[in-house]
């Protein structure tokens, strides 16, 4: 695969890959987890639209893409602390954050540590940010969430399996066409990141990786996030069901919600135009 645009920076001793575009107020985009995920894959339909108005920082979260893994436990809080250091190092003392899926939990953790530095918060399809967000009706993780966590664990790392697992996150499978998945898959296999991912997922407790074991603490933390907050979600999200959202809406001080039809977990692939319009409206609005 050809080299992706962007640059490596060393933050707190860790190699961290970022791609910065546009100008104006800074917006950090934080992707979620899952096999072969990285910043520019997750945000390819969003970053160009936002960079017409903002300085957009797309980061590979530690352990993903071209960024080195954390040396401390890979929890959302620790990943968030690393990204706070990154933004400080880049010279941003005020900025907005957008996090998708597990990235939504990471930006919540960042905001809890740096209220005032972070001026607006966007949580996108993030079951990790919702108390009980990945739970199915039977109480366990949803099948779609487990499919991502367990990719390759049974030895099947084929392209077909990869496509099957990744397409659980979209409403319309053609929004993740073969050629796009092929590029990221080839990189995943050739770089050896596939083994890193499988080992990592086997070693982490998904509850701690995506959530926290103490829901009461987390709710108390969410109650302190008094800043303009936007929650965006796909109606057909099978990984984290929108019906769970009241558990988040009722505890955040200032959340606006926008729910989109015909959109799965990765709503940015299913409804990019409407999502971008709503994001821009929220991020540019004087509150």
């Amino acid at each position: 695969m050809t080299a992706r645009p962007g640059k490596h920076v060393t933050v707190d001793g860790l190699d961290t890959f970022i791609h910065v575009t546009g100008s104006g107020p800074a917006v950090l985009l934080v992707h979620g987890s899952g096999p072969a995920n990285y910043g520019q894959f997750a945000w390819r339909t969003v970053a160009p639209a936002l960079s017409l108005h903002f300085t957009v920082i797309v980061v590979d979260v530690p352990g993903y893409g071209e960024s080195a893994p954390l040396t401390v436990a890979d929890t959302p809080a620790n990943a968030g602390r690393h990204l706070l250091k990154l933004m400080k190092q880049l010279g941003h003392d005020q900025y907005m954050v957008v996090g998708h899926s597990r990235g939504g939990r990471i930006v919540c953790e960042m905001t809890a540590e740096a209220l005032g530095t972070i001026t607006k918060l966007v949580i996108s399809g993030s079951g990790s940010a919702v108390p009980g967000g990945h739970r199915s009706e039977s109480g366990g993780f949803t099948d779609a969430a487990l499919a991502l966590v367990n990719f390759g664990a049974d030895g099947n790392q084929s392209f077909d399996e990869f496509c099957r697992v990744r397409r659980t996150s979209v409403y319309d499978g053609t929004h993740l066409p073969d050629e796009r998945l092929r590029e990221t898959y080839d990189w995943f296999i050739e770089s050896g990141m596939v083994d890193v991912y499988i080992k990592h997922m086997a070693a982490v407790d998904p509850l701690n990786f995506y959530h926290t074991s103490d829901l009461e603490d987390f709710r108390a933390q969410l109650r302190r996030l008094d800043l303009p907050t936007l929650i965006v979600w796909g109606r057909e999200d099978e990984i984290s069901d929108y019906h769970r959202l009241p558990a988040l809406i009722d505890v955040l001080p200032n959340p606006e919600l926008h729910l989109f039809p015909y959109a799965g977990h990765s709503l940015m692939f299913d409804q990019p135009d409407r999502l971008n319009a709503v994001l821009l409206d929220f991020l540019t609005r004087a509150d």
């Binding site: 109606r235 809406i249 959340p255 606006e256 729910l259 989109f260 135009d273 409206d281 609005r285």
Partner: protein, 290 residues
């Protein structure tokens, strides 16, 4: 902002109009003294500024509009609204209804889908299944307060204010919003008319209708782009009930606003206007691609 009374098949109908562009018709809800102005004034200018011809209607029996000759049901008012479009020479419009007005707009979308480019339903417990009900099946206190206003013969401003107090998150805005509407309604006799209507109407038929399953089936058949906006702190019809529409209406976007009661336009005028305008722009963009 301009105002006029037009004759819609014998029913004098009062309109407020602002801006130019594609027609956007605003349908207010019910309650003592409600008018187009009381409901929509905070958002008319921003919506007009976003490039639309904004038409806010005093519904029959409210404000400066004459009552319907037929029974005042959402279906009959929707028929009146369709005639209003005919009278104005408007072929297609986008229609936005608040509270009971959401039910009227939805009935219009069901009976004349070819006339609507999109449907927006704002905090409408009359559209959401069980929308005005508490968990125990009783009507919410806030809804009952409006329905029962004046039943004891007390039409004072204090009682009027009390009836609306739970409908705004920002209580400091209450007097500003209510004072002018109250004066007009009391002097014109509209307030007494409302109280009378509430005593002869079965609220179930007035706000809803008994055929809930049939109505839900009709909601499932709505094909046009639909936007639903709700306030998180709505005590008249809870947002959780509103969310129930998401699994029923096919092409629905659902927006929820914080620090916002039942009168979404009064509590969050800027957010309301920008979300609605953004949605309508998206509908226009899609239509122009087709």
């Amino acid at each position: 902002m301009e105002s006029r009374v037009i004759d819609v098949e014998g029913v004098g109908t009062y309109l407020l109009e602002d801006g130019a562009g594609a027609p956007l018709v605003l349908v207010h809800g019910s309650g003592p003294g409600i008018t187009a102005s009381m409901s929509w004034l905070p958002v008319m200018e921003p919506l007009a500024a976003a490039g639309r011809r904004v038409i806010a209607v005093d519904m029959p029996g409210y404000g400066k509009s004459a009552p319907l000759q037929d029974a005042d049901t959402p279906v009959n008012v929707a028929a009146h609204l369709e005639k209003l479009l005919d009278t104005l020479g408007i072929g297609e419009a986008t229609v936005v209804g608040h509270s009971r007005g959401g039910r009227i707009a939805t009935e219009l979308a069901i009976r004349a889908p070819e006339r609507l480019t999109s449907l927006s339903v704002i905090a409408s417990g009359s559209v959401a299944p069980g929308g005005h009900l508490n968990d125990d099946g009783t009507w919410t206190e806030a809804a009952v307060a409006l329905v029962n206003f004046g039943r004891d013969g007390d039409l004072s401003f204090e009682k009027f204010r009390d009836a609306y107090a739970t409908h705004l998150f920002d209580k400091t805005a209450l007097d500003d919003i209510l004072a002018a509407a109250y004066e007009d309604a009391i002097s014109s006799g509209v307030l007494a008319h409302f109280v009378e209507q509430m005593q002869v109407n079965d609220p179930l038929n007035y706000y809803h209708k008994q055929d809930t399953d049939g109505f839900i089936a009709k909601l499932r058949s709505i094909q046009m782009p639909t936007l639903v906006i709700w306030g998180r702190e709505d005590e008249c019809s809870s947002y959780q009930k509103g969310l129930g529409l998401v699994d029923v209406i096919p092409d629905i976007e659902f927006a929820l606003l914080p620090r916002c009661g039942h009168f979404v336009m009064a509590d969050q005028p800027r957010r309301f206007s920008s979300i609605l305008s953004g949605f309508l722009d998206g509908v226009d963009a899609k239509a122009s691609v087709r």
